[in-house]
């Protein structure tokens, strides 16, 4: 899919016409390209085409919660203060070179990376590199309702507001010598993990000021200007997004010259485009196409276990499910292997712990125990349960970590019949399901959960903590002081091995009490053509094209 030389030169000439102030740089680039092409060398403009599944709803990641929006914006155009080390759960410097956290955990001071240039846009040419004002602008816009940009483009910041950050962050101010200071209202151990998320992208305050002065503040959200590896040059809604490599990117220019997102909603069509060389990488394949992709000699599949879990939650407030022995017996009767085979069909991995293994633990997780109906019967008898009927509420919306909750419920129903437990499957609409299970109408509910950061405390507390039991987000209503304390201590632990031990102890409490039964973690596939090299999957999902090359 490489461009013809003449086309590339025309493209650059057009860019030259659009941005007269940067003519010299592009002119030099054009000469370099021209020399390379006319010299008959193998060097060609490298254009990677990514077939994405939907159009971004906005071009500002602060305003969205959609993966498609993040893929198109924060993951190519913007950077954040900190990032995860690729493929690991370690937080490493990005736009901040270092940081200091006060003893009381209420003050975070970040030192900014010097000489980080912003992109140029059609209506804006930056006059200065990244500064503390940019970080202050990026957060205060979301935090302060009186900020001149707060209401621009709707004033809804789903992630920032959804995480409750307006009640956690007290202020964001510029410090001395290129530092930024975050003051918190209360200690928040996972604060650094939060800053890795897409909504924490750093926008240009200078651009925002210029657009405000020009009377077009919404342009900031429509024509993004960031510090990231690619700069957006064209967006045709529901059709394509075109990027060129940022030549002065602070981590070094990416090997690709151009990146194109073509919006292709249908998964079958995306696969055809991949086979037809119209795409190099495609998003979210149809699981039914995975076997054909495996057999296609021109296509390779990147696999990544998702940071998520599909699970069965027992309502521990309803007798006899308040007895851990009964819960254990019911869990023992379920044939999870069969569920994986029939429901997940190759897109799931057995779950033995709630938190997906891999990045979060050093050892290999043990295989899930096989179903033991006889053992389950004995345990039920020991608990004094002779007759039991359970209402199972399956989640009505299919997700990768729980593709078909209703069929899963049917299989569980069959398994429980074998131990003399009858069950009814309660099917509801999405809204009713959420509402009714939040007030504890269910005996058991099939649910799923997906990680937003690689912080384990943030993964477990919202579905198993005591606070979540009060709000109803913890569908098992299980509240265990020891478990909560262990999570809290682990989140604060500075030593990774100490943290590991504490999480293992927390998991042991879960294994003993069985408030919920983990069923599977999803496997995310990213199909791509063989010529794509250095593509790295992200444990949290999403597509990042910095460093990717075409051979």
């Amino acid at each position: 899919m490489a461009k013809q030389p003449s086309l590339a030169c025309r493209h650059i000439e057009r860019k030259l016409r659009e941005r007269p102030r940067v003519r010299i740089r592009y002119f030099l680039l054009a000469i370099l390209f021209w020399a390379a092409f006319t010299g008959g060398a193998a060097a060609q403009v490298k254009t990677l085409v990514f077939c994405s599944e939907e159009s971004p709803d906005t071009l500002n990641p602060q305003l969205s919660f959609r993966q498609a929006t993040f893929d198109a914006t924060s993951r190519q155009v913007y950077d954040r203060l900190v990032a995860y080390e690729p493929g690991k759960a370690e937080i490493v410097p990005a736009l901040a070179t270092s940081w200091h956290v006060s003893e009381d955990g209420l003050r975070y001071e970040f030192r900014l990376r010097p000489h980080v240039p912003f992109h140029k846009a059609r209506h804006f040419t930056p006059s200065r590199p990244l500064a503390a004002e940019d970080v202050v602008f990026s957060f205060m816009r979301q935090l302060d309702p009186r900020h001149p940009y707060h209401q621009v483009s709707g004033g809804t910041y789903p992630y920032f507001q959804g995480l409750g950050l307006p009640k956690i962050i007290k202020s964001v101010t510029a410090g001395d010598n290129g530092t930024v200071i975050f003051e918190l209202d209360s200690p928040y151990p996972a604060f650094l993990s939060i800053l890795v998320l897409d909504f924490a992208s750093i926008l240009s305050a200078e651009y925002a000021d210029a657009m405000l002065a020009a009377g077009t503040p919404e342009r900031v959200d429509m024509e993004p200007v960031g510090t990231g590896p690619f700069q957006m040059v064209q967006h045709q809604r529901d059709a394509l997004i075109r990027y060129v490599a940022h030549p002065d990117y602070w981590r070094g220019k990416t090997p690709l010259d151009n990146l194109v997102f073509t919006i292709t909603p249908d998964a079958t069509i995306r696969f055809q485009k991949l086979r037809d060389r119209e795409c190099h990488v495609v998003a979210n394949p149809d699981p039914a196409d995975i076997p054909a992709m495996t057999l296609d000699g021109d296509v390779k599949l990147a696999r990544q276990v998702g940071m998520d879990v599909g699970y069965l939650a027992f309502n521990t407030t309803k007798p006899p499910l308040n007895d851990p022995r009964v819960r254990r017996a019911l869990a023992m009767a379920i044939d999870r292997e069969a569920i994986l085979e029939k429901i997940y069909q190759g897109i799931g991995r057995p779950a033995t712990t709630m938190a997906p293994a891999g990045l979060w633990s050093r050892g290999k997780p043990p295989p899930p125990p096989a179903a033991d109906p006889e053992g389950a019967k004995r345990l039920l008898a020991k608990a004094g349960v002779t007759k039991l009927e359970i209402d199972i509420w399956p989640s009505p919306v299919g997700k990768t970590y729980l593709p078909d909750a209703r069929r899963t419920a049917e299989m569980i129903h069959e398994d429980w019949l074998k131990i003399g437990v009858d069950s009814r499957i309660i099917v509801t609409t999405g809204r009713d399901f959420i509402k009714q299970t939040m007030v504890g109408q269910h005996d058991a509910a099939l649910f799923g959960w997906i990680a937003e950061t690689l912080d384990r405390a943030l993964f477990l507390a919202p579905i198993l903590g005591c606070e979540a039991a009060k709000s109803g987000a913890n569908r098992s209503y299980w509240c265990n002081g020891k478990f909560d304390r262990l999570l809290d201590e682990a989140a604060r632990a500075k030593n990774p091995s100490e943290r590991e031990t504490l999480y293992a102890l927390a998991q042991a409490v879960l294994d003993e009490e069985v408030p919920i039964l983990p069923i599977a973690h999803s496997i995310n596939f990213t199909p791509m053509r063989n010529e794509v090299v250095n593509y790295r999957t992200s444990p949290l999902g999403g597509h990042y094209f910095y460093g990717v090359d075409l051979k």
């Binding site: 085409v49 507001q161 045709q236 249908d266 069509i269 485009k273």
Partner: protein
Amino acid sequence: MGGEVPAHPALRPFPRQTLFRFFITRFGMVVPTFFGVTVVAFFLIRLIPGDPIELLVGERGIAPERHAYLLKEFGYDRPLWQQYLGFVHNLLNGDFGTSIVSREPVLSEFLTLFPATIELSFMALFFALAIGLPVGILAAVRRGTVFDHTVMGISLTGYSMPIFWWGLLLIILFSGTLGWTPVSGRISVLYYIEPTTGFMLIDSLLIDEPGAFKSALRHLILPTIVLGTIPLAVIARQTRSAMLEVLGEDYIRTAHAKGLAPMRIIGIHALRNALIPVITTIGLQTGVLLAGAILTETIFAWPGVGNWLINSIYRRDYPSVQGGILLVACIVITVNLLVDLAYGLINPRIRHAGKS
């Protein structure tokens, strides 16, 4: 026997009052249709479960006070009848609303995307006419032959073909297996084209890129076939039956008796009269084309109004859905009105039908 024989209505001169009354009657029918569409567009989207605010903020949810604030901001806290009256009031002032997702005016979004839909629909209609008319005429002339039965069989199949399945089938065959056509999109991503007119065939000619026009044309082939299949089948069948009716008329027999060339009889004398009902059919196909465009655009990732409407429905973007449906309906109503008027002009019997 001295009484005057009344002339055939078709031979009478147009009374101006009759023509005026005909136009007024047709326009009069448009107004209730328009208001009917506003009711359907407004209430149908609200019948679909799902809260636009909750979909706007995503799975993380939203604080109740923020939810209430946004409901108030968008006006969704008011009773439905008040919302509807507000919607109609804005419409009468030329305001189709603002998308709650993109925050752009619905009319501006529609106009940006509409050229893509027009281009595809026009090509599909051209395809349907270019094949449907001659095939229908030939089938009528060769009535009862193998050709006639084959064509009518194929057209019935085409008419019954589910668009989604048909599109996927063509893609798998022509793009996947044979590699003759691109899978989807409007032009190869290698061409950097800023929309000037919005019509890719024209824009690709305006830029100095060799191969751009060819690429745009190749991208149109499959969507055109998929969208044009049903209108093609309808036009072919309608042309055949209209031609059969006309070919049985006395004046055609007379023309044959006078020794006129068969081609002249069919092409000039028969076709002219047979085309009158076909024109109405073409007008009615506008609605079919725009409805089909929704599916075709989704399959072929065609960035037109159909694709936009589907996405807006998924996101419960009420203003976009109701404004978009209304604009599409207005276009269909206008085209049908124009066809009615044109039909009235070329076929005087229609004008007089109401009077008699």
